[in-house]
Symmetry: C2
Subunit: 357 residues, 2 copies
């Protein structure tokens, strides 16, 4: 069967369909349902404190006995200056004023937060840990391997994929340029030179250079995308946007509607929301900040500076000032329950296999 391969064996799942760790938008219901259907649900824990992560793990566990994963942001250790922050705060003032918000205090805790999350993954015997934005230290990798955690890395180029295999990742996501949300790039010297390689190009080139299983990501929304990825040499797929518009997703209604009403030409890759490049539906905030007369502070600084603006705007139904992460296939997004989406994916692949010979 198309779904039986070394990836599904290693992850102890039935179907090689991984729900992307959409930080801030996963719910225990979403994660558990994906896992119960035979895929791999993932807690998007990039922004979580250890306490919040522990609660989410416990909730997911109460809803499924199947394997699931935790998706973490590897700390980026970016340099920034107070002047950068002040300049951005001045620029953001009108938004804060309009929404009646205080200026936030930048507080960089990513290293500690990451280490605490790793402890939580081990403590609760979470079977799978996924990483983006880079690679964890050898010490952390060893610790997780001793705890029998399966490690999944992210790459946006062949070189990054090779690096993932070299440090000991068990499998790697090849993230094509179509993908929504944050880019997982970590080897480029600067954001201008970050790779934006289409999935159709990236996957077969990565496959030729690695021996660990490859997971295709970027533009995959239906059975066609899943089977095409397997044909390209991937052993599984990671899907974000398709899950983001489901009933169970934690994304704000504004975001779901933003995606459902968009075309393939409506997205852009920008760092103005978080300080790291990410693909989302273009809107007024992105357009306006594209004209910013300075350097956008790096992640997580910019993320913290814009955070309350984006959340408050979304809560008020304002789609112009919030991020709406989406890949390049929003026309294929549907508002439906996760079980419906998942059943469709599997039956679409089955049906396609009947027509191709």
């Amino acid at each position: 069967m198309w779904y039986s391969n070394s990836l599904t064996k290693m992850l102890s799942i039935k179907y090689p369909i991984i729900q992307a760790g959409m930080a801030g938008s996963t719910t225990p219901e979403l994660v558990a349902t994906v896992s119960n259907k035979g895929g791999l649900g993932c807690i998007g824990a990039g922004y979580f404190t250890a306490d919040k992560l522990e609660q989410e793990i416990q909730k997911v566990r109460s809803m499924t006995v199947q394997p699931f994963g935790v998706n973490l942001f590897v700390p980026s250790h970016n340099n920034y200056t107070e002047a950068q922050v002040e300049h951005m705060n001045a620029w953001l003032k009108p938004y804060r004023k309009a929404l009646d918000l205080e200026e936030p205090v930048v507080n960089i805790t990513e290293e500690q937060q990451f280490n605490n999350a790793i402890e939580m993954v081990i403590k609760h015997k979470v079977p799978v840990c996924c990483f983006t934005f880079g690679l964890p230290s050898q010490e952390i990798i060893s610790k997780l391997k001793q705890a029998n955690v399966t490690l999944v890395g992210t790459a946006t180029s062949v070189e990054e994929a090779i690096e993932n295999e070299r440090v000991g990742m068990d499998m790697v996501v090849a993230q094509g340029s179509e993908a929504g949300g944050h880019r997982g790039s970590f080897l480029a010297k600067n954001q201008q030179t970050q790779p934006l390689i289409g999935t159709m190009s990236l996957v077969p080139q990565v496959v030729e250079h690695l021996s660990i299983p490859i997971i295709a990501a970027g533009g995959i929304m239906n059975g066609r995308g899943i089977l095409a990825s397997l044909v390209l040499g991937a052993q599984g797929v990671q899907m974000g946007t398709a899950f983001l518009t489901t009933e169970e997703s934690g994304a704000n209604e504004v975001v779901k509607q933003g995606i459902l009403n968009s075309k393939e030409t409506d997205t852009r890759v920008t760092d103005v929301f978080s300080g790291k490049l990410a693909r989302g539906i273009n809107n007024e905030f992105a357009e306006s900040l594209a004209k910013y007369d300075g350097e956008i502070p790096p992640y997580p600084v910019q993320n913290q500076l814009t955070n309350t603006i984006r959340k408050t705007a979304a809560a008020k139904g304002n789609s112009k000032w919030t991020h709406m992460w989406s890949g390049q296939s929003p026309r294929l997004a549907k508002r439906q329950q996760v079980t419906q989406l998942f059943d469709n994916l599997v039956s679409e692949v089955d049906a396609l296999l009947q027509t191709i010979h």
Copy 2:
């Protein structure tokens, strides 16, 4: 069989593999060999005079009885000013001096050249005519249809694909962002907003909106890419880079070596070579002109201004000052004969079908 569908029937070919109309780089040997192998060879006639096109058609016909195509640039009618030309000429002076070249005289004949080419296609009963950069007039479309020419358009978005179907194209190439060479975009207001949609996203979204056959393009280099495209809903593929490095291709040796020695992260999309966006291997000329302190003159003006520089540089083995069109999969390019490439493509698809069930 995987290769038997309405596209192969309409084109009277065995395999749904179309050699892209790489203007300036096709040879009668390349075109005829592709057609003799059961694909569709195409004369890249974008820069040809009517006389040159006639010669090429006659040569191809002397080498094959199989169907082949002619690929044409639809006139773009771009506005430009003398000041733009002067400013660019000043910038290009050091290149011309180093290569001992005269300043060229801009001579816009695209409309006449295009009309003459259409007459030539009809006169010689060329079975297929492919278009890029836009859509021909209804008058030309009717004339070609009366002459039983099958019409193939190019689209880089769903909207452009719908427009192709509306005006009467018989099939349409969905050109993903991975594709090498010129972008076929024609609906964007300016180059900054031209669509760069990955093939994995573009093809399934186009397929849902059209009833004519779709040809996938962008990043397709081997059997994996061909079968994946069919799975995505395309009925055929168009491949450029894979054919560009074959022995029979007319590309300069410098270009072939440039592609063969590049990685997926080495290409960029730029308008500095021709005035229209195109993807190629990044080099000194592209880097330098990216810092140009003015507006790049539109196609075909910039193309004429840089033409002798690029050709002379290539002839001297200088890869820094010539264009090296390539898609995002140069790691999969091989130096081989067309028959070898074609046999491999077919047997790779056959083999993949054995493994997938």
